[in-house]
Amino acid sequence: MISFDNVTKEYPDGTVAVREFSHRIDSRTACAFVGTSGSGKTTLLRMVNRMVDPTSGSVLVDGEDVAAMDPVKLRRRIGYVMQASGLLPHRTVQHNIATVLLLNGMDRRQARSRALEMMELVGLDTSLAERYPAQLSGGQQQRVGVARALAPDPNILLMDEPFGAVDPIVRRELQHEMTRIQSELAKTIIFVTHDIDEAMLIGDSVVLLRTGGQIAQAGPPEELLTNPADAFTADFVGGGSHERELTAKTVNGRTLLFDADGKPAGVLRG
């Protein structure tokens, strides 16, 4: 369980990235933080592994204040996936995935075989093990990033717009891969994104943020869709602008659903 307890982050120049944010994320659930840039979502995420320390308030992991923990040890037990993959360009795929295992003192042979297991888990061909990151596609690099984060089998996974830089088709693939992995491993995940569709796909719950880490609405995706708290939420999830409204029409004996533009979106199963 991760709890944010009234956290504020103010920078020396007076900018307030996050003001008095409180929220709780249950163990083994995925929570998506969604918002535009400047909503403080990445700042909040990075407070969990102490890449950012809050100016006031506290972040608790399983009831323990992270401020009292050694940042290096804390980070080694929390998986972290970032947008630009952040892989070490001078190390092979296998070596990259084994990074934290080796930092934790696992012996080389064991770390290498664990890395290969991880490659299979995230859908990477193990023949890529000896490649360098620059020799991989963007999607493959992100898979390596996920594999690296999962290698030490952390309870918590922090994902900072992990699929933001890949093309839409690959992004969908990665999103579905992620939901599959999550259904297998059931980690506690915080997933930061500016894409509401991605947030609703990955998150068991969604926290919609306004500027400065203000919660516009938090809850399961269906609640945001069916019961938006205000115009901001309605607009963000698209319900208010009729974007998400589908119209049913019977064609050739089957019920088809049409989107707001009148394009067929799918077939209704009865």
Partner: protein, 220 residues
Amino acid sequence: MITETLTWLTDPINVTGPTGWLQLIGQHLMYTIITLAIAAAIALPIGLYVGHTGRLRSAAVLATGLTRALPTLGLLTLFALLAGIGLVAPVIALVVLAVPSILAGAYSGLESVPRSTIDGARAQGMTEMQILTQVEVPLGIELIIGGLRSAFMQVLATAMLAAYVGNGGLGKLIFLGMKTEDYPVMLAGSLLVIVLAILCDVILALVQRAARPKGIARTA
């Protein structure tokens, strides 16, 4: 004069004799290496500190610019007046010459590493020392060695001045030739230092290339 120079260069007495040019090249390289070792011991830790932390950067840039502006011959004369004839004065003067290049190479090498790579390494739980030794230095090694290389070349060229305050090295031929108006000997001295410089530079370029980490896109 060319023939006289060649005759001088190939006379066995001038090659292997106690003051032959092999001996002088040995001295010359020794001065250069001693200087470089001292300069690196000073400049590398500072450069790595500045590059890793980003602290004192403007001070480092300023110090680099200032020491670069100092005339080595002036320094040499000053130190020779203070320390007397011997190796101390030229070595100090040459260290002052070498430090800026090494310092700049070290911090700009670390600065060339993408911030996101370092951020990722830190977020995985690397200590600051591990980030430095496993990420920043390997990725910045080409520029770091580049700094050492250009310092080496500058010192090698300027170590000719060691002879000015009574030491050996290839400069000895130049100053000797000048005093005795023996131009072939002067020419021999200059040819030797030119060849030596080119050879050293080629070797260092190869070292620099070999140090380039695998997996990094070839830039040159």
